[in-house]
């Protein structure tokens, strides 16, 4: 136990990077996801197909494979990314596909009458989407997005394979130094759990906030 406490600053730094990667990837993932969802619902055949293929590929391949393709694979084509950038890119693209599914479901659960009412008052399709449909869809999307978010938090542990010193790799480094496993792995397990719980708590609050009507 002492050994963990002595190295707590190092682990906390790892936790910080885990959080940072999660938040940054989620941020870009939300943008990618929203664009993809709209492309799938409102786009012409070309954009619909691209969006569908993207979601299909990402959901059909392991995130670990996506990460190594971005970090190691692209080197063959002269694209050398530093580990953090590769992590951000791979995870944003990954999460974007899942977020788009959450948004798509949410947008489709807003009744058609809402769009019709907005159009009837003279709004364009885009205005109706932006002012009427999406604000309502966001609320429907929060529970599935929350799951995705917590999933992302845990998935960041995969980028330890490309030597990003987030929480998982911090523990691995300490294990290599002290030759004991359990205390460190147990400690990061607890830290992941605390972070997930806090996220879930915050999201529940946000959901409540949004359900004033």
């Amino acid at each position: 136990m002492d050994i963990v406490i002595d190295n707590l600053p190092f682990l906390l730094k790892g936790a910080y990077y885990t959080l940072l990667i999660t938040v940054v990837s989620m941020f870009f993932g939300l943008i990618i996801g929203l664009v993809t969802a709209i492309a799938r619902i409102k786009g012409n055949r070309f954009f619909r197909t691209i969006a569908r293929v993207y979601v299909s590929i990402i959901r059909g391949t392991p995130p670990l494979v996506q990460i190594v393709i971005v970090y190691y694979g692209l080197v063959d084509y002269g694209v050398e990314l530093d580990a953090f950038t590769a992590a951000y890119i791979a995870l944003s693209i990954n999460i974007g596909a899942y977020v788009s599914e959450a948004f798509r479901g949410a947008i489709q659960s807003v009744p058609a009458g809402q769009t019709e009412a907005a159009l009837a008052t003279g709004m364009t399709e885009a205005q109706a989407m932006r002012r009427v449909v999406i604000p309502q869809a966001i609320r429907y999307a929060i529970p599935p997005l929350g799951n995705t978010f917590v999933g992302m938090l845990k998935e960041t542990s995969l980028v330890s394979v490309i030597a990003v010193t987030e929480l998982m790799r911090s523990a691995q480094l300490l294990v290599a130094q002290y030759y004991v496993y359990m205390p460190f792995y147990l400690a990061i397990g607890v830290m992941y759990w605390i972070m997930s719980t806090v996220f879930t708590f915050i999201l529940n609050k946000v959901e409540k906030r949004l359900s004033v009507y």
């Binding site: 009744p111 009458g113 019709e116 009412a117 159009l119 009837a120 003279g122």
Partner: protein, 248 residues
């Protein structure tokens, strides 16, 4: 004010509207009645482009919408038509995430680009007119169906339409709430608004409308003054329909 020429609408192979032609002058109040599935609502929705017409044309306030126009031109015409028409739906379709006054404000700000202050003044006045000045800051879910529908009318009026389209505005209401909505509509009619009302309220149609369109199988079967239509319908379809309606 409003003209349909040879207006047709098909869903795949199913022809829902068959070559409808009619003219509605300004300030006329038209009630469209008929059995369900006769195409009344579809007809109404074709007038402001919520349904795409598949044949003929619609003219609303000099904006000519033709089935043969390119998609781009159609979109532009429909946009222009919608600026001049207000629509009230059976299910109200108020924006649940916005308060009553925000529902009315929304298009003024987004479409008409009015300042928030000006829009608010107009919205308040309209809510007062439909008797809901005290509900401005309530969310629609806190309102009765009748109140919601009155807000929907105020929302449509905010755009200062030349024509109001009503799609069975009282069909989703509890019986005791129908009256307050019809009262607002009656006042609108008295002020000279051009109105097309799809309705099952026969008494209202008889008392308020200037003209009855009886639809069946996607066609206008009778087009008459209420007095004539309700006392001496000329077709068998209309006679049977009225018999059924009057059974209760």
């Amino acid at each position: 004010m409003l003209q349909a020429k040879d207006l047709s609408k098909s869903f795949d192979q199913n022809e829902v509207l068959k070559h409808i032609s009619l003219t509605i002058p300004a300030h006329q109040v038209v009630a469209v009645i008929g059995p369900s599935g006769s195409g009344k609502s579809t007809f109404l929705r074709c007038l402001n482009g919520l349904e795409t017409i598949t044949g003929g044309s619609v003219t609303v306030n000099n904006h000519l919408l033709q089935a043969t126009d390119s998609k781009k031109i159609r979109q532009r015409t429909i946009h222009a038509i919608r600026q001049d028409t207000g629509m009230v739906f059976q299910q109200f379709n108020l924006y649940p995430h916005k308060t009553v006054i925000e529902n009315v404000l929304e298009a003024l700000i987004v479409v008409k680009k009015q300042s928030k202050e000006n829009a608010r003044v107009l919205a308040s006045r309209l809510l007062k007119r439909v008797g809901l000045e005290e509900k401005e800051d309530a969310y629609p879910s806190k309102l009765s169906g009748g109140q919601q529908q009155r807000v929907a009318i105020a929302r449509a009026l905010a755009m200062e339409p030349k024509i109001m389209l009503f799609d069975e505005p009282t069909s989703a209401l509890d019986p005791e709430l129908v009256g307050e909505v019809l009262q607002v509509m009656k006042e609108l009619a008295e002020e000279g608004m051009t109105m097309v009302i799809v309705t099952h309220e026969m008494k209202f149609a008889r008392d308020v409308a200037d003209r009855i369109l009886f639809m069946a199988d996607g066609q206008i079967v009778e087009d008459a003054e209420p007095k004539v239509f309700f006392t001496q319908p000329s077709t068998e379809r209309a006679q049977k329909f009225l018999e059924k309606v009057n059974e209760f």
